[in-house]
C-alpha cells in the first residue's frame, strides 16, 4: 500500500522550495509593501492619545449610524483602553484593515471578471472553495517560508481566508442585475465599460458591500491565528493566554476582539446603507 502512495506532500515542498529560491525578490517586494501599509495604518492609529481616537470614532459612529452605535463605541472602546489593550488592539486593527483593503482591491476586479466570463468563473470558483475550506494553519507554513515571521504572512493568510466573499458577492451582484436592464444598456449603444460603471456596479453595490462586510469580519477572525506566526496585537494575548492557561487574560483579549468585531460590522453596515 505504502508503495503506491502519491508523494503529493513531497511535490508541494519541492514547489515551495522552488518558489522561495526563484521568486525571492518578488516576495521581498510584497513583504515591504504590505509591511509598510500595516505600519502606516498602525502609526496613524496610535499617534494620538487613545481618548482622542475614542471620541473621533464615537463621533463617526454617531454620524453614519444611530446614537446607540455611538454609545456602544464609546463604552466599548473605553473598556478596551481600561483593560490596557489599546495598543495591541490597534495593531490587530491595522492588520485587519490592511487585509480588508487589499481584499477589496483584488477581490472586486476578480469578481467583475467572473461575472463577465463563464470560463473565469468556472476556474475561480473551485479555487475559492479551496481557499475557504483548507484549514488556515496549513497555509500559514508556506506564508512564513515566503515572507518569514511577523505581520506580513498574517496579512497574506487573512487575505486568502477573507477574500472569497468579496469575489463571490461581486460576481453575484453583477449577475443579478436584471437582464432586461442590461439589454436596455446595450440597445442604447453602451460600451462594456459604460455598462459596468453606469449600470452593473451601481445596482450590484449593496451585494458587493455585503461581501466586503463579510471579508472584514473574516479577516478579524484571523487575528489569533496570525499571532501564531508572530503578528503582534490583541490576538497574541489570546494565543499566549491559551498556551499558558490564563483564562482571565484570554477573556479580556477576547472581549476586545468582540467589541472591535461588533463595531466594524455595525459601522460598515450603516455606512453602506447610508450610501
Amino acid at each position: 500500500m505504502n508503495l503506491l502512495k502519491i508523494p503529493l506532500g513531497d511535490w508541494i515542498e519541492k514547489l515551495e522550495e522552488w518558489l522561495t529560491g526563484n521568486l525571492g525578490p518578488l516576495f521581498d517586494f510584497i513583504r515591504s509593501v504590505i509591511g509598510s501599509m500595516v505600519d502606516g495604518i498602525e502609526a496613524s492609529l496610535i499617534v494620538a492619545p487613545a481618548m482622542v481616537l475614542i471620541v473621533l470614532i464615537t463621533a463617526l459612529a454617531y454620524w453614519i449610524g444611530k446614537w446607540r452605535i455611538a454609545l456602544f463605541a464609546f463604552i466599548g472602546l473605553l473598556l478596551i483602553d481600561n483593560l490596557g489593550l489599546w495598543e495591541p488592539s490597534m495593531q490587530s486593527l491595522s492588520l485587519v484593515l490592511t487585509a480588508s483593503i487589499l481584499s477589496v482591491v483584488f477581490g472586486v476586479p476578480i469578481g467583475i471578471l467572473c461575472a463577465r466570463s463563464q470560463t473565469t468563473q468556472n476556474i475561480v470558483t473551485p479555487v475559492l472553495d479551496f481557499m475557504q475550506t483548507m484549514p488556515a494553519f496549513v497555509y500559514l507554513l508556506p506564508a512564513v517560508s515566503f515572507f518569514s515571521l511577523g505581520v506580513v504572512p498574517g496579512v497574506i493568510a487573512s487575505i486568502i481566508f477573507a477574500i472569497p466573499p468579496t469575489i463571490r458577492l461581486t460576481n453575484l451582484g453583477i449577475r443579478q442585475v436584471p437582464s432586461e436592464l442590461v439589454e436596455a444598456a446595450d440597445a442604447f449603444g453602451s460600451t462594456p465599460a459604460q455598462k459596468l460603471v453606469k449600470l452593473q456596479l451601481p445596482l450590484a453595490m449593496p451585494t458587493i458591500m455585503a461581501g466586503i462586510n463579510q471579508t472584514i469580519m473574516l479577516s478579524l477572525s484571523m487575528v489569533v491565528i496570525s499571532s501564531m506566526i508572530g503578528a503582534q496585537g490583541v490576538g497574541a494575548f489570546v494565543y499566549r493566554a491559551v498556551t499558558q492557561a490564563k483564562t482571565g487574560i484570554g477573556f479580556e483579549a477576547g472581549i476586545a476582539i468582540v467589541i472591535m468585531a461588533i463595531l466594524l460590522d455595525r459601522l460598515t453596515q450603516s455606512a453602506f446603507k447610508k450610501k
Binding site: 436592464l181 446595450d186 440597445a187 442604447f188 449603444g189
Partner: protein, 398 residues
Amino acid sequence: MSIIEVKQLTKIFGQEPQRGEKLLREGWSKDNIYKETKLTVGVNKASFSIQPGEIFVIMGLSGSGKSTLVRLLNRLIEPTSGQVLFKGKDIVKMNAVDLRQLRRKNIGMVFQKFALFPHRTVLSNVEYGLEVQGIDRWQRKELAQKVLKLVGLEGWENSMPDQLSGGMQQRVGLARGLANDPDILLMDEAFSALDPLIRKDMQHELLLLQARMKKTIIFITHDLDEALRIGDRIALMKDGSIVQIGTPEEILIQPADKYVERFVEDVDLSKVLTAAHVMLQPETVSPERGPRVALQLMRDNGVSTLFVTDKEQQLRGVLTAEDASLALKENKSIEQVMQEDVPRVSPGTLLNELFEIMADTRLPVAVVDERDRLKGIVIKGAILSALAGNAVPEAGAR
C-alpha cells in the same frame, strides 16, 4: 427607398445552428427540427421592407418569434443568417464599433417591462443614450427635458422611476427611446404591461407623436386590436415565420390562410374600417352646368343623385333627379334647387359611427377632407358589403 430591408433573416437557438438551417431549407417544420436536433427555430427566413415614417407592426402569439425578430434588427440577438439592411448597409456585418454607433444614433428601443434604470432619476434615465455618446451635461439635459415635455412628463425630472405609475414609467421609456432622435424606434410589446385604458391613451399619443416626429416605428404586439389601431402595415408571425404582411384591411378582409383567418375572425370590423375604406367614387357636377346636363349625367352613370362641387372640389350641395327635373321645368339653375344640407363625415370616421348618420338620411353620405373637398361618398350597400368581409372594389385607396 425603404429604410429597413430584411432579407431571409433567420435565428436558430442551440449548438451548431447550421444543422437546423439545412433542415429548414429542406422544408422541415419547427417542431420536427426541435424533435430531431434540439434546436429551436426562433425566426425562419423573415423578409420584409419598411418605409420611412411607417408604423410597422409585428404581431403574433407568444412564442411566435416576434420579440426575437425585433432583437435581430439591432442585434441584441445575433442572427444566424440573413441580412438587415439599414439605408442599404448590412447591420449583420457591422463590427462592434459601427453597431454601437448605429444603436446610439439610429435605432432607439422601448421595452415591455420598461427596463428603466432604478438607480437613476427620470431625467438621467432619459439622458442615458446621450450620456453614452459623450454629449456634454448641459446639452443632454436640455435635450432630455425637451423629450420629457413631449411625452407629458414635465416636472417629473427628479423623481425616481419607482415613484411613477406604469403608464408614466413607459412614457419615460418612450422619452429615453426618442432622446437620441433615432430614425427608427423599436417598441417591444411597449404597452402590453399597461392596463387597457392607459394602453389606449398611449396608443393614441404614440400616433400623435408619430404624426409630429415622422419616426419609423417597428411595433411588436400580441394584441390584434392594438395592431389594427396603430399599424400602417402588419406582419403576422407564426412559429417563427411571417404568415402575412399587409395593411390592417388586407389582413382582415383577405386573410392569407386559415391561421390568419382564425386570428382575425372575432374582430368587429365596424370598429376598424373607416369611411375612407368603404367610400365610392362620387359622380359630381359643377354648379355652372345646367339641369339638362345634370340629368344626362345621371342617366349615363345610372345614379339618382349628383354631388355639386366647385373648381376646388369643395362640396356645395347635392342634386337629386327630382331637383334637376324641377329646375328644368321652372328654368332655375342647379345652385337654386340643390340641397345644401348634405350629411358629411371625415375619411377617418369609423363605420360604427356612420350607422347613425346613415339611418337619418336617404341620401349618400359625403366624405370630405378638412377643407370640405369631396373625397368620396358612402352608401349603405358598400358598408354592408365591407362588414360581410368583402373587399370594397372601388374603395378609395388610402
